[in-house]
Assembly symmetry: C2
Homo-oligomer: 480 residues x 2
């Protein structure tokens, strides 16, 4: 039952001597760790970062680079979109629930414009342009796009739609450039970074206060003292098969697990000193149906041949529904006018003249697709979608011949990562199940449950990492 890499805590009396010391010890040099280190050093603390691999970046460097920001950023204003902290909060509370961490949402929405300026001031430029393709970083340098179904039902009725995903100024995928900016900012501080150093055990004193950690480097234990505290920014657990099976088993079925060092070691080290985890079942499951956007004019059905969502919402929401609530079985049905091999290479696995033939080919229940398509087409002809409220722009009756994309989890790309993790305050303090802070221990990023409690929008994780990384860094630096 025991996994290889124990993360049990060590008592300080077992530490012969400290190999390294700092006020603040940060575990992991992704976007959360980088921002924690920058803030802590700027607040006057002596900071040491331990990075498990040979270079900083983490999963952030592999991402699209979208950062969820809003409430009226200069980029939103330049592109002609109105937004406010309250409007942003109204959207996020609904989109990330049920029962999201409202304290985190509130402080983030109130500070999002200031956080934008902080990123700019620390060397991350944004180009004021809007990309009409939602959910995905523009091929151009344009910063802004919709990324969470803000302009789709039901969110368009809950808050005024505003695009909020901000990509740093670079053409195409923005993650590498985003981390280049943040690592550059780290390099301009006196932060020390130790690479190839994998944190394994927290060190506690008699009062169970975290006073350091043991890291593994070149096959040897390195003992690191943290005078103020340790900040865990070591990612989630999507690459830990045992943890996935026990907490969010549907993810095991997804082919593309988005992780860097995301083995859950930070979460486990904290649990060993009494921390609790929350929302461990939560996960993002992007199902990249678009681009091209016109494909949302098709219908997506489950294994019973029923629609289950408005196809024009965020494709991460479609993926969550399909994988977590429809058993990982879905099919996208289009007609000839819509058909195209999409950007991710998705193509039709079946093509038939009629819905009746198509449902038989796919193996859907008799009559199910015929009925669903009839119903959809009747509404679409009138510009209506009474069940799921797809926007009229994408409503048009589908005519044979029909093609079906196989969106079953075992047959296509679901890009997944975990959203559950340590329970933390808005300042990164790691909590016990009783809601008490573990002395000397802090965390940020995907090691924690953050802005995206259950639902998701592209850019929320980088927003969470950078903003709450900063807050944790400042909090630990300020400790007496």
């Amino acid at each position: 039952m025991a996994t290889v890499d124990s993360t049990a805590s060590r008592h300080v009396s077992a530490v012969g001597g400290w190999d390294l010391e700092a006020d603040v010890v940060v575990v992991g040099l992704g976007s959360a760790g980088a921002c924690a280190a920058i803030e802590a050093t700027e607040a006057g603390a002596d900071v040491l970062v331990l990075e498990a691999t040979g270079a900083g970046g983490g999963l952030s460097a592999m991402s699209g680079g979208l950062v969820y920001l809003g409430g009226g950023t200069p980029i939103q204003e330049a592109c002609g979109f109105e937004d406010s902290p309250d409007n942003m909060f109204a959207f996020l509370r609904e989109a990330t629930g049920p029962s999201p961490d409202e304290a985190k949402l509130r402080v983030f929405c109130d500070d999002a414009v200031a956080h934008y300026h902080w990123l700019v001031d620390h060397g991350m430029p944004f180009h004021p342009g809007f990309s009409p393709e939602p959910g995905l970083e523009a091929p151009t340098e344009d910063a802004l796009c919709y990324s969470g179904g803000e302009d789709a039902w039901p969110f368009d009725r809950i808050a005024t739609p505003a695009p909020r995903a901000h990509k740093p100024k670079v053409a195409g995928k923005g993650g590498p450039f985003l981390m280049e900016c943040l690592l550059g900012a780290v390099a301009r501080t006196p932060t020390r970074v130790e690479y190839d150093s994998r944190a394994r055990h927290l060190v506690v004193d008699d009062a169970r206060r975290v006073v350091g950690l043991v890291a593994r480097r070149e096959g040897r234990d390195v003992h690191v003292r943290a005078r103020h505290g340790v900040i865990l920014c070591s990612g989630g657990f999507v690459l830990n098969d045992d943890m996935v099976a026990l907490h969010t088993p549907a993810l095991a079925r997804a082919a593309l697990k988005l992780g860097a060092v995301d083995d859950g070691s930070g979460i486990r080290m904290a649990q060993a000193v009494g921390a609790t985890t929350v929302r461990m079942d939560a996960a993002e499951c992007a199902l990249p149906i678009t681009p091209p956007r016109k494909l949302v004019g098709g219908i997506i059905v489950n294994g019973s041949g029923q629609r289950f969502i408005n196809e024009d919402t965020y494709y991460g929401r479609v993926g969550q529904e399909a994988l977590l609530r429809q058993g990982g079985e879905a099919y996208l049905i289009v007609d000839e006018a819509l058909y195209e091999v999409n950007a991710a290479g998705f193509q039709a696995s079946w093509v038939c003249e009629t819905a009746e033939e198509l449902e038989a080919e796919i193996g859907l229940p008799d009559g199910s697709l015929v009925e669903t398509l009839d119903s959809y087409n009747r509404g679409a002809a009138e510009g209506r979608d009474p069940r799921f409220h797809k926007h009229p722009d994408f409503l048009r009756p589908l005519q044979g011949p029909l093609g079906a994309y196989d969106l079953r989890v075992e047959h296509t790309i679901y890009a997944v990562f975990t959203l559950g993790g340590l329970h933390t305050t808005i300042d990164g303090e790691v909590l016990t199940p009783d809601g008490e802070a573990v002395a000397g221990l802090y965390a940020a990023g995907r090691t924690t449950s953050g802005l995206a409690a259950y639902g998701y929008a592209s850019g929320l994780s980088l927003a969470d990492c950078t903003y709450f990384g900063r807050r944790a860094g400042r909090r630990v630096a300020d400790r007496p």
Copy 2:
């Protein structure tokens, strides 16, 4: 953020002296604690039970008293049902998944007949009679009923249907009698029981081994030494609003939370010494549509006016689907031939001549109920349900006038309790997130994640509590 009742661990050096001592200290005198105590004393250990309330029983005493047993028990044989451990395992693996604890399922299925005899030998009689009403304890003394949709799709194709819920020999609700039997068995052993004693903190030594606990009695701390170990049998967490909000928020909406002392204190005490929790989102949500059984001849639709399950499966499965995957919105539609106020008092909130009027009254999307009913009626007329495979016995076209029962979670009874908890071995050893045993600490029952990983069948929790309570008791007693 901090809740009132801290469960932080205490170091043994802070314990001035022990007020009580035993080889084995059991926390909680529900069915798990009772069985743990019986086994441990029979294995020669000196056992002390701490019960938070003034009497034993816990949630088990408030239950229907069904115990899930099978593999060919004398009761099954007397009633003419064939079963085997492998057949039972095949059903449970499918019904309790995804990714259930197969080690627990395997050992339980192999031992279920022996466990039946153990219960009988310890004073729990069973009457060999079969009750045709599934999911619910018979009004007679008859023991046996279907309780997990064993004879409904898809399980009837995965394993040979066999009823496995066994009620002790008493007319009607069996929980009080079941606990009377078990508490009688405890009373025949030298087990000591301290009532009104609420365990609050585990006590650990320098090696972080659990060596006792601190309980609260009459406003004072009582220090209890456990020479072999502590067994936590203190229930789940459905009565802890904070934990529900953080782990399984949909349950907060349910009116009927099935709990006794289920405040999560056992789970939290264990977390404080490094234990991990698993499947904390899992929950049972019984939606007592039947009896009468004829009501499953109606159709259940969600907020989009779509069916989502075969109505003749276990009503706990219907409730889980409705609450956890359909947003807590469902309606049962029947015609005049089926209509009846059910045993739980459910009655029609709307009655209309046609589906069109009814969908408008309920507020379902235009045309949705008309289409769903047309589709259902077409199949039913041919004895077919191609989408959800309801058994032909319950398929008959529904004719107006139609009545609709309001099954929205805020408008009816969902009876819920938590299934997630501590991660334990088949012998009750409490595990860290790395899969290592916490020395001196054991658990059973709803404090743990057990036989019912996600799915449920009536009787599984009492089976889990009694069987794995026994195993934990024996394991701790046998410790050197």
